[in-house]
């Protein structure tokens, strides 16, 4: 028997549980997106109009939730797929680190893009 299996297992309940939670959040965000854009009418589509909507507390909350959910769900999903292709030991650590870097970068970029509406 290879010894790895007897080593303490990696990745506990949280990644799996958060994948489910973020899936629910994605459903919520998509619903809000579709309802707001296609059902609710905000009048003429002008820069100010859209800006006001994006700057409202509800949308800042929803969009940030969505940002974190998408980044986690997407990258953790990629990670789960790649784990089935032989990423173990140090390769797995490298994979995790790379995904964290990508995730942090994506979230930083998201915050940067949102910055004007946050400080407005």
């Amino acid at each position: 028997m290879r010894q790895e299996v007897l080593r303490k297992g990696e990745g506990g309940v949280w990644p799996w549980f958060l994948q489910r939670i973020t899936a629910v959040l994605l459903l919520y965000g998509l619903t809000v997106h579709l309802v707001v854009l296609h059902v609710l009418n905000i009048g003429r589509l002008t820069f100010d109009n859209i800006g006001d909507r994006l700057g409202s507390g509800f949308f800042i909350f929803t969009d940030f939730l969505l940002l974190f959910a998408v980044v986690f769900h997407g990258l953790n999903g990629v990670r789960m797929v790649l784990l089935d292709y032989g990423f173990a030991g140090s390769k797995r650590t490298a994979l995790d680190a790379a995904l964290v870097v990508i995730g942090v970068a994506a979230i930083a970029y998201g915050i940067w893009a949102f910055w004007p509406w946050l400080t407005d």
Binding site: V5, K8, E10, G11, G12, V13, G86
Partner: protein, 239 residues
């Protein structure tokens, strides 16, 4: 006298180590199981053939093989019920080979033993039996019938991709004990399967359900374990 043609997987590490196929014709009178056919071949046609056997009554799990493209117990498979000829007999796919139809089950049993497949009990036992309602006992009906034949393990793509994934059989047994009202293992067993070499490696492909010759459902048991892990780790509810 009817005859059955067997096409058998051969592999001898002491010869050339090549895998090859060999055909044998076995006559029979009324009924012939694949296991009886293998014995006929071993006794009369080719003494060098190797396979596992024990109870010949579908309770020991020794003779699980891949017969005509399905996981079956050789003892329980009657040639009359097989449509394709010749009857193709292979060892459990994607397992390390020992010889012919015998595969190496070392990892399989090591993983089974790793999940602590026994009741753990901290409190004092009662003088007589621990009481258990028939309903609570029925929760165990499915997993206690497991004969550890290895079919589910061999059929699981998650096992193919990750040597150290515990696999459906070991996890079914983890469920058998976690779901038992008498068990008090708490974290002792939980930490062996609550990780990505354990339940979270299961992607509910359900090959194991298809493969099981006892018609058990390891996937469902694994899903239950995931739920139990959330209840226990995150909400702190143990039973």
């Amino acid at each position: 006298m009817p005859e059955a043609t067997f096409r058998i997987h051969r592999y001898d590490p002491e010869r050339d180590g090549d895998r090859r196929w060999q055909e044998f014709t076995v006559p029979y009178e009324n009924s012939l199981t694949v296991l009886e056919g293998l014995f006929y071949i071993q006794e009369n046609l080719d003494g060098s053939i190797s396979f596992r056997y024990c109870c010949r009554a579908a309770v020991c799990g020794s003779c699980a093989m891949y017969i005509n493209g399905r996981y079956r117990l050789a003892c329980q498979t009657n040639v009359k019920n097989l449509e394709d000829a010749p009857i193709t007999v292979e060892p459990l796919p994607r397992m390390p080979l020992v010889k012919d139809l015998v595969c190496d089950m070392t990892d399989f049993f090591a993983k089974y033993e790793y999940i602590k497949p026994y009741i753990m009990h901290e409190s004092q036992y009662p003088e007589k039996e621990t009481l258990q309602s028939p309903e609570d006992r029925h929760k165990l009906d499915n997993p206690v019938d497991c004969i550890l034949c290895g079919s589910c393990y061999s059929s699981c793509p998650s096992v193919w991709g990750e040597d150290n994934y515990l696999g459906p059989a070991a996890l079914l047994w983890a469920y058998r004990f976690e779901a038992d009202t008498r068990d008090e293992a708490r974290k002792a067993r939980l930490s062996s399967f609550d990780n990505e070499r354990g339940v979270y490696r299961c992607h509910t492909i359900t090959n194991c359900v298809e493969a099981c010759p006892k018609e058990l459902n390891p996937t469902e048991a694994i899903q239950w374990l995931k739920g139990a892990a959330v209840r226990r780790r995150i909400f702190g509810r143990w039973k």
